[in-house]
């Protein structure tokens, strides 16, 4: 068990709901969409926690909640022991310097009219006291550029003069400026070519060690996650359905959804053309329902129990948690019966 002071970020039963309304003049709330539903997690010092799941699973929304860009409808988020919701705006600003964001798209997340000096140095305008003692802003920016493997002589260039991989380095340099201890990275290598992706992952691993960073790493790429994550939380429709040490989840996934995800990754060692007519599950577009397990319409093991009672996350041992009535690595990897009606 981790010591209490080892935990740098805590989410406790965090939910985010978007109201569904009807009518233009007299607006009436007719329901709510739960983008994130009752998520609890902890991030420990120096570890990488990966949030994985498909699009719409709520992983990016959760990342935005963790960094305080959105306020949860219920539940709380604590950074180094302080509840974000209870801080004044000044305190919140001071807190935010400890937690920084790296985004997916290095083409749209950098202002094309700003030079690198302005982009990477901008955080120092707001947090002047974080400028290293006795250094000018230019010196600090040049140092950051060197840290992420960019030539400091290019300090007055604009983002369009750089390739995708170099732009992602610019984004990382900007995130490092205020010497944060937590970095939330939302699909940081998804837009990059394979040969460049490996460079950026290696850079992030180096920085984690040299700067004592903790990462929340949001990704849909299970092979990338395999290389970087210490712990993994698998999300499905706003909930964590399985969480635990990365090695345990890859070695023996317990939730049917995790099994399906892992089985679906195209593999260099498999030849689909040799096995035509594979069973397929075609899922209706909107399988959401208020009760029961939200995954049951895609699950080969689902029973009446799954339609009636939503399974809660429970520990199967060694911190490996799963929310399923019938967990296990056996049989259900690819359900071959017809999709649920």
């Amino acid at each position: 068990m981790a010591k209490v002071n080892d935990v740098v970020l805590v989410a406790d039963a965090v939910s985010l709901e978007y109201p569904l309304t009807r009518g233009i003049i007299r607006r009436k709330q007719i329901g709510a969409v739960r983008a994130v539903a009752g998520v609890s997690l902890q991030l420990r010092r120096g570890e990488t926690l990966a949030l994985v799941g498909e699009s719409g699973s709520g992983k990016s929304t959760l990342a935005r909640l963790l960094i305080g860009l959105q306020t949860p409808t219920s539940g709380s988020i604590e950074v180094a022991g302080d509840n974000l919701a209870q801080l004044s705006s000044g305190q919140l600003r001071a807190k935010r310097r400890n937690i920084q964001l790296i985004l997916q798209d290095p083409y749209t997340s950098l202002n094309p009219r700003m030079t690198l000096k302005a982009i990477i140095g901008e955080p120092f305008q707001i947090h002047r006291d974080r400028l290293p003692l006795g250094k000018s802003r230019t010196e600090a920016v040049a140092e950051l550029m060197a840290t992420v493997g960019l030539n400091p002589e290019l300090i007055n260039r604009y983002p369009h003069e750089f390739s995708g991989g170099q732009r992602q380095r610019i984004g990382i340099a900007r995130a490092l400026a205020l010497r944060p201890n937590i970095i939330i990275a939302d699909e940081p290598v998804s837009a990059l070519d394979v040969s460049i992706q490996a460079q950026i992952i290696n850079l992030m691993l180096d920085l984690r060690d040299s700067h004592q960073l903790s990462y929340v790493f949001v990704s849909h790429d299970l092979a990338v996650v395999r290389q970087i994550a210490d712990r993994i939380a698998v999300m499905y429709q706003g909930r964590i359905v399985e969480a635990g040490p990365a090695a345990a989840i890859y070695a023996s996934p317990q939730h049917p959804y995790t099994l399906q995800l892992l089985a679906a990754v195209p593999s260099r060692d498999r030849d689909r053309s040799q096995q035509p007519g594979q069973p397929q599950t075609v899922v209706p577009d909107d399988p959401s329902s208020p009760e029961g397990c939200s995954f049951r319409s895609r699950c080969g093991k689902a029973t009446d129990l799954c339609g009636a009672v939503r399974p809660e996350l429970s520990d199967t041992g060694a911190g490996h948690e799963v929310a399923c009535h019938f967990p296990g690595s056996d049989s259900a990897a690819a359900p071959d019966q017809d999709p649920a009606p």
Binding site: A198, L205, R226, V265, S273, Q280
Partner: protein, 332 residues
Amino acid sequence: MTATPLLAVHDLAVDFHTRDGVVRAVDGVSFQVNPGETVAILGESGSGKSVTAQAVMGILDSPPARISRGQIFLEGRALSGLPEKQLRAVRGVEIGMIFQDALSALNPVLSVGEQIAEMYRGHLNMGREQARNAAIEVMQRVQIPGARQRYSDYPHQFSGGMRQRIMIAMMIALQPKLLIADEPTTALDVTVQAQILALLAQIQTETNMGLLLITHDLGVVAEMAQRMLVMYAGEVVEQGSARAVLDQPAHPYTAALLRAVPSMTERVDRLPSIPGRPPNPLEPIPGCSFHPRCEVAQRCCSQHPGPDLDLVKSDRQARCWFAQEVLSGGES
């Protein structure tokens, strides 16, 4: 090699005429696709793989792009140089193409059923009712649940995977002999990707259609393709049987790319990456265009381009002076 291949591309070169000068995006690409066969073109961004596909389909943005050399044959008939009107009859009917982004490839103000029916009305002169039934039938074939009810739905009412199915339905409607798929599953979740790939493989077995698959994903190549080409900086640097190339690459770029792909099964301390970055097409590199990033490069590599695609062993070609060494290095 006696039968006429379905598609034969011979020594294709495509130039882009830009303000900053002429950029050669594709240089000397040759390959064949046989009926029922899947050929993959693997490459990173800027390698010229999509431009090659667009040239085959005859949908290059021209200007600025221009086919400056080479020929394209469909069942022995030369496509290059055909007037636009005759090309239109080939596109859609004999060659279909699906893209990564189905949402922008579909008409947002026309129901998906009408868009598919239009293929039958436009190309086969079917009547309204007949086309509607044919469209519903092909929607069922690509396994869209409730095809009849969803005929009148618009593209935005479908999920990404369903939209990709609709585009596939539209493209196989006229039973083309060749389907070109340009990153067909890149925007999709892995579980949906697996379904779409299985669907394509199934359609192929049923119709004996040739498939030219453009992708950056080695896993997709391994699962789908019988033969593959690896492109770098506009050139084919290696080609051969997909299984053999993936198991034992002969070009240093292919080898480095394979090493850089993160593994699902084991965790490594440090991912082997390829140093440097792809060349800027406006500043061609003298000699072999991969040599600045290559770990086996010698001085000759900066002075002479790689040899013409040489037969390294049976059914394998690689454009590298040291292909034999790379190949035997991988064996150990």
